[in-house]
């Protein structure tokens, strides 16, 4: 298992390199000019200098190499510097200062490091997306279990119908719909997410919870729909197995049979699906973040895209790619760990 994990980890390096190259080439092909916003009164030779200052005069492979060095070498160094200077767990080490004077990935919009933008927006995305995923899974599992156990019952049929609807309604419709119902008509919840809200006391905590309800609900609806379908079909497959009959014949209680024997075996594929769904939900969160103005990764990506801020777009897209590769890896390893019948040789 360990060899497999290590092999997969090593394999993910060329994958990530290829993805970064693909994104880089896509951005290179683009006709968008970062100098388009510069006033026309600026003389062309000055413009040329500005272009060189952005690193655009260099050949493509040099630009790509520099981005790689900045992302994979200088940014970790910056992190080490920060850790040794400011944190409790590494602060006792002497301050390193590895990255002093080194050029980081700079955003063309803010003229500051892109990583600062990432650090600002990552918690927002993680809070909203992570919370929605937890809520979605927590709702989906009982629904899936019960509708499989009572196959073809009213509950099952309603559940299947509702999950089908949740599966089909896109978040850019549920988002406005929820806003209209809960923010406009009922006035219970705020329609926009206030990103600068600081949670300091009980009142602000309540406010934070309130503003998270709508985006979390919208994202959780999709998660619930997908996962409960998987849970249901996995339970259905297992309920027909011989070992279930054996367990019942031994006189085990129905609760033990379903919740211990069947559930454990059904969770194997479902856990993989849960892990595989995490990157997809980050991608889908782009839409939800824009509906509710959550200042997360997707929101920042869209702003950078419209401003043709290529380093930021590149870095953000690549962070999405890292998330996908990472969770695919986790899913694969989990599958092997949970199911001893699976052998990777």
């Amino acid at each position: 298992m360990l060899t497999f994990t290590i092999r997969r980890l090593l394999l993910s390096i060329p994958t990530l390199l290829f993805i970064s190259l693909a994104i880089f080439m896509l951005l290179q092909l683009s006709p968008g000019d970062p100098m388009a916003q510069v006033p026309l009164t600026v003389p062309p030779e000055v413009k040329e200098k500005m272009r060189e200052a952005l690193g655009l005069g260099q050949p493509v492979y040099v630009q790509y190499w520099k981005w790689l060095v900045q992302f994979f070498w200088i940014e970790p160094l910056v992190f080490v510097d920060w850790a040794t200077a400011n944190t409790w767990w590494a602060g006792w080490l002497p301050d390193t200062g590895f990255a002093e004077g080194k050029l980081r990935v700079i955003s063309w919009q803010t003229r500051g490091p892109v990583m600062d933008l990432v650090i600002q927006s990552l918690p927002q995305t993680f809070w909203v997306v992570g919370m929605s995923y937890v809520v979605g899974v927590a709702i989906a599992l009982p629904i899936g279990i019960y509708s499989a156990y009572r196959h073809y019952s009213v509950f099952d049929q309603t559940g299947t119908f509702v999950t089908m609807i949740g599966f089909s309604i896109p978040p850019f419709f549920t988002g406005p719909l929820m806003i209209w119902i809960f923010a406009v008509q009922l006035g219970w919840l705020p329609s926009k997410y206030n990103t600068v809200l600081d949670v300091v006391d009980w009142d602000t905590f309540v406010l934070q919870m309130k503003q998270m309800v709508l985006p979390v609900m919208v994202l959780a609806l999709q998660t619930t729909a997908q996962i409960s379908r998987y849970m249901r079909s996995a339970m259905l497959d297992n309920l027909k197995q011989d070992y279930v009959r054996t367990a019942r014949a031994k006189g085990l209680k129905e609760g033990v049979v379903v919740m211990v024997h069947v559930l454990r075996n059904s969770m194997i594929p479902v856990i993989t699906v849960i892990a595989l769904g995490i990157p997809a939900i980050f991608g889908g969160a782009i839409i939800t973040e824009n509906v509710f103005a959550v200042n997360g990764l997707g929101y920042q990506l869209l702003i950078a895209l419209f401003a043709s801020d290529i380093p930021t777009v590149m870095t953000f897209t690549f962070i999405f790619a890292i998330l996908i590769v990472l969770f695919n890896l986790i899913a694969d390893v989990l599958y092997g760990v949970l199911d001893p019948r699976i052998r990777y040789d």
Binding site: I19, P31, V313
Partner: protein, 323 residues
């Protein structure tokens, strides 16, 4: 002993079949009809297709025609509970803030959304089937094509779609004109980024079929690989392709609407359902129906397509049939 049991040696005594044997197509159709959701979905999809295809000939009002005097009209049903609502039979679904008729916008937008959906789905099916068949049939290509598929699957698709559409919008608009250019671009990027699942399914099926006797027989009478693929393999992988086609249509419609919603889709005077929805969100507290109409149409279309997919999956699965 009475002679009621049929004599095994007498074929005439065997029970006579009541109906002629049914063909596979009939079996599939009969199973498909059992699935209520699928039949309803099929009906709705047919209705919506007719609605957008012949709609413009019946409701001849142009979608982009401005009529500022008749702006902000409500749908006709509003007249039932509110006397002061501005309604009229000349605009049964109401009008928007520039007086454009909503019914004709829905028809026009549906045309665009459905056209993009179908075209992107067909493109992704062609790509997926080609990659799947090639990598399943030719051992030499298998490794490289499957690694490529895996790579494509680990791309962050929505961000890449956004990037691609934003970056190439101007170039293609200049070459082909704004509307055709955008159509080609959106269909292209959706098709190119959604073929991977089809390719995987088709490859798995081709790998299994390749070892069967009829393919061996075809090989031994000297059939060329190209002919084996078109005559023997493709007809046999048709059913998984059809199921992934329905899924692909739903995904393509949603993706196009999402792109329009995020503001990177078609230009604003070219309505699609997603675009109409996105434009209406700003004034949603006053005119919620302008969000609900396109949203409902997208959701119902996708729902019916998903139900058709479900029904097809059951109908094409021989283990499910006859139950």
């Amino acid at each position: 002993m009475t002679d009621t049991s049929p004599n095994p040696n007498d074929p005439l005594a065997e029970p006579i079949p009541l109906a002629p044997p049914t063909s596979q197509t009939q079996d599939i159709w009969r199973q498909f009809k059992q699935h209520k959701g699928a039949v309803l979905g099929g009906g709705f999809l047919m209705f919506i297709t007719l609605f957008v295809l012949i709609g413009p000939f019946i409701w001849t009002l142009e979608a982009t025609k401005l009529d500022i005097r008749a702006k902000d009209m409500r749908p006709i049903v509003w007249g039932l509970w509110s006397d002061e609502a501005k309604v009229g039979w000349n605009h049964p679904f109401g009008t928007d803030q520039l007086g454009r008729d909503l019914l004709s916008q829905m028809i026009e937008g549906g045309r665009a959304s459905m056209a993009v959906g179908w075209a992107a789905m067909i493109l992704s099916l062609l790509l997926g089937t080609a990659v799947g068949v090639l990598s399943g049939f030719f051992k030499r290509l298998d490794f490289i094509l499957m690694r490529f598929t895996d790579l494509m699957l680990s791309l962050p698709l929505l961000p890449i779609l956004l990037v691609a559409v934003t970056l190439f919008r101007e170039k293609l608009s200049k070459t082909f004109g704004i509307e055709t250019g955008m159509f080609i671009l959106i269909v292209g990027v959706i098709g190119i980024t959604s073929w991977m699942q089809t390719a995987r399914i088709v490859r798995a099926d081709v790998l299994a079929l390749k070892e069967r006797e009829f393919v061996l027989a075809a090989h031994s009478i000297g059939t060329r690989p190209g002919k084996i693929i078109t005559r023997h393999l493709l007809p046999n992988v048709l059913s998984p392709i059809m199921v992934s086609a329905t899924l692909g249509l739903a995904v393509a419609i949603i993706t196009e609407s999402a792109l329009s919603f995020l503001g990177v889709g078609f230009p604003s005077d070219f309505p699609t359902w997603g675009k109409l929805l996105a434009d209406a969100v700003q004034r949603m507290n006053l005119y919620p129906e302008r969000v609900f109409l396109p949203g409902l149409l997208i959701s119902l279309t996708v729902l019916s397509v998903n139900y058709i997919g479900d029904g097809l999956r059951d109908a094409l699965d021989p283990r499910m049939r006859g139950r």
